[in-house]
């Protein structure tokens, strides 16, 4: 900190300013990128899974409809925490199993009873970027199931007359789908999707379950009491302060999202007769 700033702020304030800008706090602020990034990337995956799921649910073929039904109902019924723990681990071990068939010898398999992976060459080392991607995919799959239901319902809500008129104009099946059906679906889907987004945002606080050093991890570590001067500032249990900061962060994000969705609803509804006019 420059001297002029220090004299301006006084000793007390500049001490605290120095404390909350030291290396470990900067790492804490940097960790927000994981939670925000997971929200953005997760919602992109969720939207993709949601559109795909809705298409399956509304398919002409019984078999694809069944797949859609099974996907949305099973995934919606599983707690997100559980799916978060299950999916990355299941994927990692399946990939390792497939890989092990190729690289491990038969002796390795015999010798490795009760140990995973069968040989160290088949170990898939997951570091933060991999875990992060898997976390986003998990979020996408879980909240995609909710989004699929919302989108499918919204597509039912588009007045049949609109679609009939489009067909009467000679539009092909795909043209009706993309230009009329999906275009008009958004206005009905947005309120439901904004709810899914809120749930997804909150679920980003689970990242620390996957060894990602996210904001929850840092809040826990930085807030833990410290009684040893050589380790850093001696302080009692301050976890509640850090958790409060996270509260405020999530409330701020929710508030901004509300604003964003209001804008989107206005935009999606332009040219249509809606409650917003």
């Amino acid at each position: 900190m420059p001297d002029w700033l220090q004299s301006l702020l006084g000793e007390n304030l500049s001490f605290w300013l120095g404390y909350i800008t030291n290396g470990k706090h900067l790492a804490f602020y940097g960790a927000f990128q994981f939670n925000l990034g997971a929200a953005v990337l997760g919602s992109v995956f969720a939207l993709m899974c949601g559109l795909g799921g809705a298409m399956l649910l509304r398919s002409r073929f019984a078999i694809t409809r069944t797949i859609g039904f099974v996907y949305t109902n099973i995934v919606r019924g599983v707690p997100d925490v559980l799916f978060f723990l299950f999916f990355p681990l299941a994927l990692e071990q399946s990939v390792e199993w497939v890989w092990a068939q190729r690289v491990c010898t038969a002796e390795d398999f015999v010798a490795s009873v009760g140990r995973w992976p069968p040989c160290t060459d088949a170990n898939w080392y997951l570091s933060t970027p991999e875990y992060f991607l898997l976390a986003c995919v998990s979020l996408g799959i879980v909240y995609g199931a909710f989004a699929a239901n919302v989108i499918s319902g919204a597509m039912n809500a588009v007045p049949a007359g609109q679609l009939e008129a489009a067909r009467a104009y000679g539009m092909s099946h795909a043209q009706v789908m993309w230009r009329i059906h999906i275009r008009q679906m958004w206005i009905y889907a947005l309120p439901g999707l904004s709810n899914v987004w809120m749930l997804l945002i909150k679920a980003t606080s689970l990242l620390s379950l996957l060894q990602i050093q996210d904001i929850v991890f840092f809040a826990e570590r930085l807030g833990a009491p410290n009684y040893l001067p050589r380790v850093g500032l001696v302080h009692p249990d301050w976890r509640w302060i850090y958790y409060l900061v996270l509260f405020l962060f999530y409330i701020l994000i929710t508030y901004l999202s509300e604003q964003g969705f209001a804008w989107l609803r206005r935009r999606a509804g332009r040219g249509l007769i809606t409650a917003e006019g």
Binding site: G23, L26, W99, Y125, E130, D237
Partner: protein, 247 residues
């Protein structure tokens, strides 16, 4: 979805066998001062970090410390995510069944009970108490075996959290390793004190290694032995611990 799977598989192919690199990765927890902690700069520091770097230097190895949660420390070593553990891990019979250890670099130290200053615990008849421990530690196993029937054992992810809950009054007493708990109890601000008997539970603290990595064990053992012989290990312990137990 399919493209993503392919991308994930491609990435998997890239990271397979990452442990084959020359750098030895050492895992530590970063929440067990003064053994290992995260300093104000956000970097791992502590007795084990200084010692680990010195061991590697003397053994001619290139090493890198990584942070890992305590409860997945041994599984991730076996999976090859890193090659060694220096995280205040005591050498015990149970752990020796799955991993191997170098010679100890910190002598066996008793485990101690701590309470908020003035708190009393009836050690003659330990009954109905809430006892805090760090999960997956020798103290946790000991408390479960010996006091589990008549008391409630609460286990925490990090040792710091057990202390925080002790200070907050959520547990009556915490059982922890002496090397960790003595500096805290003796510091002015903690409001905690050591009570009751000192328990000899575990062995000394060593570098945790995979059983098949016998070369690495031999290298660490040789350096640790030479540092014990010339007294430099004791010197280093003295710089990190106020009331040290020496070899």
């Amino acid at each position: 979805m399919k493209k993503l799977m392919i991308a994930a598989a491609a990435m998997a192919a890239l990271t397979f066998g990452a442990q084959a690199a020359d750098t030895i990765r050492i895992a530590s927890e970063g929440a067990y001062a003064p053994f290992n902690y995260v300093d104000d700069n956000g970097k791992l520091a502590g007795y084990e970090i200084e010692l680990g770097n010195l061991l590697c230097e003397k053994a001619g190895l290139t090493c890198e410390f990584v942070q890992n949660e305590w409860d997945s420390m041994i599984p991730n070593l076996l999976a090859g995510n890193y090659d060694a553990i220096m995280a205040g891990m005591s050498i015990t019979e149970e752990r020796l069944q799955t991993i191997s250890f170098s010679d100890d670099y910190y002598p066996p130290e008793s485990s101690l009970f701590v309470v908020p200053t003035g708190g009393t615990v009836n050690f003659d008849e330990l009954k109905g108490y809430k006892i805090g421990v760090q999960g997956g530690t020798i103290q946790a196993a000991y408390a479960e075996d010996n006091f589990g029937a008549d008391n409630t054992i609460l286990s925490y992810t990090t040792a710091d959290q057990s202390i925080a809950d002790l200070a907050a009054g959520n547990v009556d007493v915490v059982l922890a390793d002496g090397g960790y708990i003595k500096p805290i109890a003796s510091s002015d601000g903690s409001g905690l004190e050591v009570v009751g008997p000192a328990l000899s539970i575990g062995g000394g603290i060593g570098v945790g290694l995979r059983k098949e990595d016998t070369d690495l064990k031999a290298k660490f053992d040789a350096v640790i032995k030479s540092m014990k012989d010339d007294g430099s290990l004791n010197e280093m312990i003295k710089t990190w611990f106020d009331d040290p137990i020496l070899f």
